[in-house]
């Protein structure tokens, strides 16, 4: 079995998904989803360990050798991203059990969990596949299931935001498939390794830059880089709490991974950065995302929406790291993938707890919550410190590498922008702290602490965000190695 682990990582959830749909009962469907999430966590950990030990895993699906068959190709970057997705899935699913029972009706819940499992399978598939068309297929699986989960949000605005996301997501997917098609026309292959070998031979043809451009726009739309982020705030705001936590920590991260995969592995950093001048596009956009969108977050009064804008700003940090095109910069980007997943997951989950108890995440409704829900708000502050980048939290580690990457290039201005961004995070996090701790609660409403089944998963992520901030050697080493693999020649 262990030999087929790469396939099973995706196949097991894909098989479990219809079972969940057929179960007809929320509890059973949830149990199946939990099994899927925990299985993928186990598989992802084993795969990461194996890659660290013996290098890249190549696995031909169904025994069909590439270029005829689909190849799964797992290097350190893929395994790391797969682990992030699986870990967040495993932590959020127990949480979903409680929060979804309240937010989604019993008859729809089995379908909800089906979508959850499919999204998980899709995201994992993107991370480990070595075939560009397969990327597109998995991307659509994960996106379609995400649309349907968001549409199940309680608020009726969830429907319009789903529609908005559906349209923009489909535009992005179409751009990606056009880019893939153009590459196929020029090289006759869909396998990433073959593409990387053959593209330099046809590079001079105008078609390749066009393919590159289509892919860039498509992927940056999927990862919500400013100014293509418009679908994200509404989708995150109105989705069920558990979905927001799961999506915010995984789906944009996987898109950032795609960016790395296409630009570094397939096109190569020479073509991407020296010929196409990708950094000239990515860096300004990332900087604007950090500054402008943080400013928007400061003025937002719906906390979930505020965190969603903050996500767009944080994606700016990841893209900024990548835009340096150096090992240090890409390391910063990869490490922030992981770190941001932890902290934003925890923040959205804390807000889910608030939503569960008071039915709203409007700032003015949260007065005095520090006393009424001490553990929830403490989790929010703990993860918020990470977002600000206080030392001994994961947020600091990200900042450490990002600023280091900037200063190593002599970009003091960029380093300054990163710091201004974290100070802006301080402002919007502190707004919530002030309302929760400095205002008196409404005496008419008796508010009690969130249930343990939601608090424990939240705190797992909060503690992780301190743990990996205090001892970041493991994550830093993996991220550095992954960056080196991406920037080095493909073996």
């Amino acid at each position: 079995m262990s030999q087929n682990l790469p396939a099973l990582l995706v196949v097991v959830p894909l098989l479990l998904a219809p079972l969940a749909a057929l179960s007809g009962r929320a509890k059973i469907a949830w149990g199946i989803a939990t099994a899927a999430c925990w299985w993928t966590l186990y598989a992802a950990i084993s795969l990461l360990l194996r890659v660290q030990e013996s290098g890249v895993i190549r696995y031909s699906l169904g025994g069909w050798e590439p270029p005829y068959g689909i190849e799964y190709r797992i290097d350190l970057a893929s395994a790391f991203v797969a682990l992030i997705v699986a870990a967040i899935g495993a932590v959020t699913i127990p949480y979903a059990g409680t929060s979804i029972a309240k937010e989604v009706s019993e008859d729809r819940a089995p379908l909800f969990y089906t979508a959850w499992i499919l999204m998980l399978a899709g995201l994992l598939g993107i991370a480990i596949t070595g075939d560009v068309f397969n990327v597109f297929v998995f991307l659509e699986i994960s996106s379609l299931s995400a649309y349907s989960m968001i549409a199940l949000g309680q608020d009726r605005r969830a429907l319009t935001s789903t529609f908005q996301y559906l349209i923009m997501g489909s535009v992005g997917a179409t751009f990606i498939v056009i880019g893939i098609g153009l590459m196929y026309v020029m090289t006759g292959t869909l396998n990433m390794v073959d593409l990387a070998e053959r593209l330099p031979m046809v590079e001079s043809n105008r078609t390749i830059p066009v393919a590159f451009t289509f892919l860039t726009v498509g992927i940056t739309l999927k990862l919500a880089l400013f100014p293509l982020h418009l679908w994200l705030p509404n989708a995150y705001t109105y989705a069920p709490s558990a979905v927001t936590a799961f999506m915010a920590s995984t789906s944009t991260k996987v898109s950032v991974y795609l960016l790395l995969r296409f630009f570094f592995t397939i096109f190569g950093e020479v073509f991407s950065f020296e010929q196409m001048r990708l950094n000239m596009v990515l860096m300004p956009l990332a900087l604007i995302a950090i500054l402008a969108i943080s400013l928007v977050a400061i003025y937002e009064v719906n906390v979930k929406r505020m965190l969603a804008f903050s996500s767009v700003a944080q994606i700016g940090y990841m893209v900024l790291g990548i835009s340096f095109g150096t090992v240090l910069g890409v390391t910063a980007g990869i490490i922030h993938l992981f770190n941001h997943a932890l902290m934003k997951g925890a923040l959205f989950m804390a807000m889910g707890c608030v939503m569960y108890r008071i039915g709203s995440v409007q700032l003015d409704k949260m007065a005095g919550l520090g006393k009424a829900m001490p553990w929830t708000m403490a989790a929010f502050v703990g993860a918020g410190l990470s977002l600000i980048g206080v030392p001994l939290t994961v947020g600091f580690v990200s900042k450490w590498y990002l600023v280091q990457a900037a200063l190593a290039e002599g970009q003091w201005f960029v380093a300054g922008v990163v710091m201004v961004g974290s100070l802006m995070a301080l402002i919007y996090i502190w707004k919530v702290v002030e309302v929760a701790y400095f205002q008196e609660p409404d005496p008419d409403h008796e508010i009690i602490e969130a249930p343990l089944s939601m608090l424990i998963p939240t705190w797992v992520l909060v503690i992780a965000s301190f743990w990996f901030g205090i001892d970041a050697t493991t994550t830093a080493t993996v991220a550095t190695q992954a960056a080196e693999t991406l920037l080095g020649a493909m073996p």
Partner: protein, 490 residues
Amino acid sequence: MSEGWIIGLTVLLPVIGAMAVLLLRNAPNAREAATLVAGGATFWNVWGLLRLVQDGARPRLDLLEVVPGVHLAFEVEPLGMVFALVASFLWPVTSLYAIGYMRGHHEENQTRFYFFFAIAIAGALGVAFSANLFTLFVFYEFLTFCTFPLVTHHQTEEAKRSGRIYLGILLTTSVGLQLVAIIGTWVLAGTLDFRTGGILAGTASTGLLSGILVLYVYGVGKAALMPFHRWLPAAMVAPTPVSALLHAVAVVKAGVFTVLKIAVYVFGIDLLQTLATTSWLAWAAAATIILGSLVAFQKDNLKARLAYSTISQLSYIVLGAMLANDLGIIGGGMHIAMHAFGKITLFFAAGAIMVAAHEKKISRMHGLGRTMPFTFGAFFVGSLSIIGLPPAGGSWSKWFLGMGTLEADQYGLLAVLMLSSLLGLYYLIEVPVKAFFFAPPEDAHHGEGIKEAPLPSLIAIGITATATVAFFVWPDLWYDLMTMVVGGAP
């Protein structure tokens, strides 16, 4: 037990004390006893470490590697010892004072108060013992966050506003400037360790290093160099023991200590002398000295006046560091201790007046000296030390700072020091003089039922005032430690 773990234990003891405070929250007497015991034990430990340092040992404790190459580690050296001694000695004394003050003033949430107070001391000791810039930064930020609940203790609208200014300025400077400088240092030097002679020499052009120096000095917002001083007056909304220990000793001294430490162990005196911005920063400090004094002049609220006096005095230490010679460093380091003892006495007295007579304004304190002679007497002694007059300890630190300006051929700066002392003479001595010799305002009810402050507070005032005088007669402890910092024989 190895020497390293004594350091660990010393930093941990206040945290243990804080836990005890939390557990004993329903028994106020036991709770306060826990604070005092933890304080005494912490000081005992620091004293033990002092013996080692005086013998030339440099105890070290490596905790863990945070990111590859960057460690969380402690190392005790003489400069850190000065700061640790001051903070750990004054903590139990302030706790004693706080018992009288907090009960006399009927403050709420006293458990939270003692809890965060103890945690803040752990932060200050962490700063004092840090072995590298990263550890220093960790505890520096830690100190900012754990003093926030103390500053906003009353949870009023004013407290919230002040809390914003406090956190806003301290984090803006530390994250926006200091952290950039630290990461820059890491990129240039490849290490963050504090080493005698510095780590930055020869790593980059003097222009770039000059820039980094500016980032550092302004980035240490806790040193309150203008224009980043506004947080200190804002922090005065806190209960007086907080203002006394944290905003006259632990937090602000953590700031100037950081500046001294960076000057000596990151840049090194030799490198500092070659940088263009060094003397420029010395003048910025001089400007803060004068402006702080002038603002203090106009404040009628006693705590606000003391806050601006602190801003002014902190810049003496920054100035000492930027003189870039041995005498300046010695004077600056000694001023950490001398100013701490003097200023805490002043704050204690201010708090005592508030508890006993409910007066905050100087203009309403006329004649109070007759009913509170002990408090105002202590205030007078503290003032002498801040101004730098015998028989108080402050005269020594100012002496060395003055010598430092002469050595640097900066007669202008010497004049600034003189002028500031004259200003201090007026705005500090005014308070006891008016209290003793002026007639009370007509609507004041002095004398009716007002006695001296509660006994625990009076004992604390007595201890710090006595120490202030004692350090005039025996300044050797501080002088010897500081000579070791600049490389002289003890």
